[in-house]
Symmetry: C2
Subunit: 340 residues, 2 copies
Amino acid sequence: MKKACSLAIAAALLALPVNAEEAKVEYPSPPEIVAKAAASEWVEIAPSDLMVMELAPLGDKPRRVVIQLMPAPFSQGWVSNIRKLAAAKFWDGTSVNRVQDNYVVQWGDATEKKALPDGLAVVPEADYAAYSYECSASPSEAKTGRCRVYAAAGQRIELTKEADSYGQFPFLFDGWPLGVAYHLDENAVVPGWNEPKPVFFPSLAPVHCYGMVGVGRNLSPDTGTGAELYTVIGHAPRHLDRNIALVGRVIEGIEHLSSLPRGTGPLGFYEREEERVPILSVRTGNEVSGLPAYEYLSTESESFAKYADARANRRDPFFIKPAGGADICNIPVPVRRKAL
Amino acid sequence: MKKACSLAIAAALLALPVNAEEAKVEYPSPPEIVAKAAASEWVEIAPSDLMVMELAPLGDKPRRVVIQLMPAPFSQGWVSNIRKLAAAKFWDGTSVNRVQDNYVVQWGDATEKKALPDGLAVVPEADYAAYSYECSASPSEAKTGRCRVYAAAGQRIELTKEADSYGQFPFLFDGWPLGVAYHLDENAVVPGWNEPKPVFFPSLAPVHCYGMVGVGRNLSPDTGTGAELYTVIGHAPRHLDRNIALVGRVIEGIEHLSSLPRGTGPLGFYEREEERVPILSVRTGNEVSGLPAYEYLSTESESFAKYADARANRRDPFFIKPAGGADICNIPVPVRRKAL
């Protein structure tokens, strides 16, 4: 049933009084929630899972970018290559070559002539996602996200949210933004069945949020070695999910990349050699002396649940209309230097 | 019904062959679609609806930022204030004062002491959204987005998509990213009804995508005058939708803002006066001699529909897995200088 109704009535709905004092007591802001999280809710990142990139200083200001590498079961072929490239000091003397506004910053060997170290793996496209061992035989069940999937450490995830605009069921787990997607096999052969049936197979893959680091590549089925890397510096380019390998995220110093002058060539590549930003060195964290310890707020902690809820429903005094939700890339996982 | 199934079967789903040659013929990329759009599908922007901000040059490089103001029925109280502020040359000699990574760049009078011109309106919070005249009396009908709403020029929009993560039904219309939200009035009094009933009222509001320009304010119910403005330089901060007035978007030169050094003070404010970027002048487009004409691809055109579909389903040769969808801020409206 549809009715014509007056503008005045609708507008009046917004005029509810707000008691800012009370709101402040009841509803701390997301940073306030994070600041109050217990020490036990933070997870330290092993230095060997960090990559430290030193750009040429800007004047006398050092420019260090710290990247956390993705854990298993995601993208480990490329992550292993990246460890080998860092050990071989491959990136020393290379440069940041591409800065495309609202998209990515990309670095590597601009000459494309530098020899790669031996032993790099050729990783298949299948490894853009990790596959779970449990799936649904009912498309309707699978489509509503009730199919169970197993994540990194064998934990079972109950998907309760609706699919997002990208047809994925996104969630934050083990410190990372992940998405489940379903792939229909019309004629799946499953043990215990007498004949092939349609099956939706769930797969898990990392999501292209701000600051995530991925592996540059040429046309499919080339998946890249890991020698050419990029990070997201704009609105989440989710169309790249499952089309490129994600291998980590910038946890400190992204401003040294995101504030670089934009390239004026096609795709934001720098057109002149002198525009490129020299990379002095890239090392894994365990090889950098004096590196601070870093930790992230456990995505399975009580404080993270409160933080995520507060990101989705801002009720701190500035806000008048909580959204009632947030997309996965608008709930960045808090990462900080560990207090000594 | 749930079955255990082997990893090998699931992984094999990804091994479908891709014929890049054929794909290229069948599926042009989004920029290729835009390049082929007919001249009649582009809409020229009136110079009087542009604001031209000249920042102090960087070395000998001029830094011009061009902003398109929002049309009726959105935010017109603030837009009118902004026209008055530009006419009074209020921003000449002010500065960019805040650059917060993955969030906003903000400009205005850092001293907060400069006199505002006479005649600025005090705009109510209700004006963060525009209200339609037609609504649904059925919550279930409204919630599934089948309620009809009227947009800017009286056109009726049929909402067919599901609500996004922010509880809105987003769409692109009249050149802008907009979202419909529903507000429940438990006891609405509607002409023709004998007694109050629950009614979901739809309202339309602009969406905080990359490059959108909004009005800085203090705590609610202060809605800001328009003298203090910001633009989005990161992932869409959709929690600000309906909490702040959006008055336009940057259509050229956003790189002069997004690539500025990040502020090191709270919220990304510059801590030292010399860090601020001087604004030489802000004028409406009709007062700037030699300004190019700008045009946007009509969001109601056939080419835009193809472009939006291609953004949501990348099938050009680089891609192996079309997403099947995109969020509204990942379908930026193409804007360009009009060919002479």
